[in-house]
């Protein structure tokens, strides 16, 4: 059993998520090699082969070239499984590689049971158990599902790879979200509004609840996308990652992208009228109620 791991660099830095791929390979008991487009100054600390393509030449986002580089390495390594993070990089590149190899792909794997990959479905309310029918397969791993414990250590055997291919897309650099005035990472208490608040006007009652707690207002992605709350208050994968003493999730169903941004909170209260909402899985306390009715009652109680 041999796994080829596809690591990730962003703005010249090796992403820590690359080690989650290592944890996955270890769990499978697989022999591993790692492919990454990055630079030599930050090599992954693993005992094994590392194929490195220079990001200065191949670019950090260049699917055509990255695919070609990876296919060359796959031809050489002959792995049974090609492993990506289920990230903006991984979910973009993995299907291209699967299509070129004519093999099956299983996305967002959270576990492996008896050789079958377990993946979430319907906002994590359900799971599916999937087996590839092809001898070789491609998988992407849910962020945080396979955690790497301890400090990465190891000395890789480095092999540099390059390709002379041409690309059909042109990467024009990164755009950083404008920083608002709010740094939620320092907040002790965060009260976040989710889609369940219903409409923009209702955000005010959540803001009042945050004030009654002496905390900051946060928000989930749909609320920010709808323009109800500024992006600087977004908690989750594409927003801020927070770890307050108390996190109150109001009308937030608990999509993995949101959970990734707040699961390190010391104490998590979820207010949701859906008793089966996935947020209930991680909450210390789930209050089953309509947040628009419950929030005023709680504000009243906090004031009294």
């Amino acid at each position: 059993m041999k796994a080829l791991l596809v690591g990730e660099y962003r703005e010249g830095k090796l992403l820590a998520s690359s080690y989650e791929l290592v944890a996955f390979a270890k769990k499978l008991g697989a022999e591993m090699a790692l492919f990454v487009v990055g630079n030599e100054s930050q090599l992954p600390k693993i005992d094994g082969k590392v194929y490195l393509a220079d990001a200065a030449q191949a670019g950090e986002y260049n699917p055509d070239l990255h695919k070609q580089l990876l296919l060359d390495v796959i031809a050489k390594e002959q792995p049974d499984t090609v492993v990506f993070s289920h990230s903006s990089y991984g979910w973009d590149l993995a299907p291209r590689v699967a299509a070129a190899l004519k093999v099956g792909q299983v996305s967002e794997v959270v576990d492996v049971v008896d050789g079958a990959f377990i993946v979430p479905s319907c906002n994590s309310k359900l799971r599916r158990s999937i087996k590839p029918k092809t001898a070789r397969c491609v998988v992407t791993l849910q962020a945080g599902a396979f955690s790497f414990s301890g400090e990465p250590a190891g000395t890789p055997t480095l092999e540099k790879v390059a390709t002379a291919g041409t690309a059909r897309t042109e990467f024009g650099g990164y755009e950083v979200a404008e920083k608002g005035g709010v740094d939620l990472t320092k907040a002790q208490i965060i009260v976040s509004a989710g889609r369940g608040v219903g409409k923009k006007e209702n955000v005010e009652i959540i803001a009042k609840l945050a004030a009654a707690f002496g905390g900051e207002l946060g928000a989930s992605r749909p609320v920010v996308d709808s323009g109800w709350v500024d992006h600087s208050r977004q908690v989750g994968t594409t927003g801020q990652t927070v770890s307050p003493k108390l996190y109150v999730a109001c009308g937030i169903s608990g999509a993995i992208q949101h959970l990734a941004g707040m699961k390190k909170s010391d104490f998590l209260v979820a207010i949701n009228k859906d008793k089966d909402a996935p947020i209930g899985e991680v909450a210390d306390v789930l209050v089953v109620a309509d947040v628009l009715q419950f929030a005023p009652a709680l504000i009243e109680r906090l004031k009294g």
Partner: protein, 258 residues
Amino acid sequence: MKILVCIKQVPDMESKFKIGTEGIWYNEADLAWRMNEYDEYAVEQAVQLKEQVGGDTDLVVLSIGPERVKETMKKALAMGCERGVHVHDDAYYKKDPFEIASIIAEYAKDQGFDLIFTGMQSQDRGSAQVGILVGELLGLPAVSTIVDFTFADGAISVKRELEGGLKALVKLQAPALVTCQLGLNTPRYPTLPNIMKAKKKELTSVPVGDLLKVEEMVKVEKMFVPEKRSGGLVLEGDVKDLADKLVQILKEKTTVLK
């Protein structure tokens, strides 16, 4: 100009899901169906592009599934798509992402679409594979997870959403495929006159057998409800009592309330 937008009908994610009798999919009885959220942004962007380039732009909406998916397709038509192609497949849930992508590619090949829009993933399966696979099968450059799209004379500029608030700027040339992320635009609500007009728009059905030429690459063994993580306290009842109970708990378990 020719534009294709691919959409999926999915259940409301707030539904209470049960496993169906075959054990590989959810029970579809009593579910409320709607357009996959990501696809609403794809439809909106396709309609905006049609409005921008004008002329006799052909904007086709495609969906795969049983008879009921036509209802969701009518919404896309009411939003501004010109005509619909319904790939009739009652066993759609047994198809893996490769089969779904192959069906779409088989339909789209040789038709000369300048742009293909899809959602970046579906809400029920969330594989995020189908759009990119369609691009690969058709030999088109594809960019996933876009949150900004501009088009001028065949030149496409997009922003890809990455993690932590970062976006990547990417340029490419049509013909191309893009997969749409939430927040790309503001999907319009169909107006009543447009809903009426949509009823007269062309909506053809094609049996899936005409387009499916491949076999699945992965097999779903079972679908199941995950075990509930125990430990969390569930409070139910009158809101005033709930507020009292919660404050009591917070005083005991945290240091944030005096």
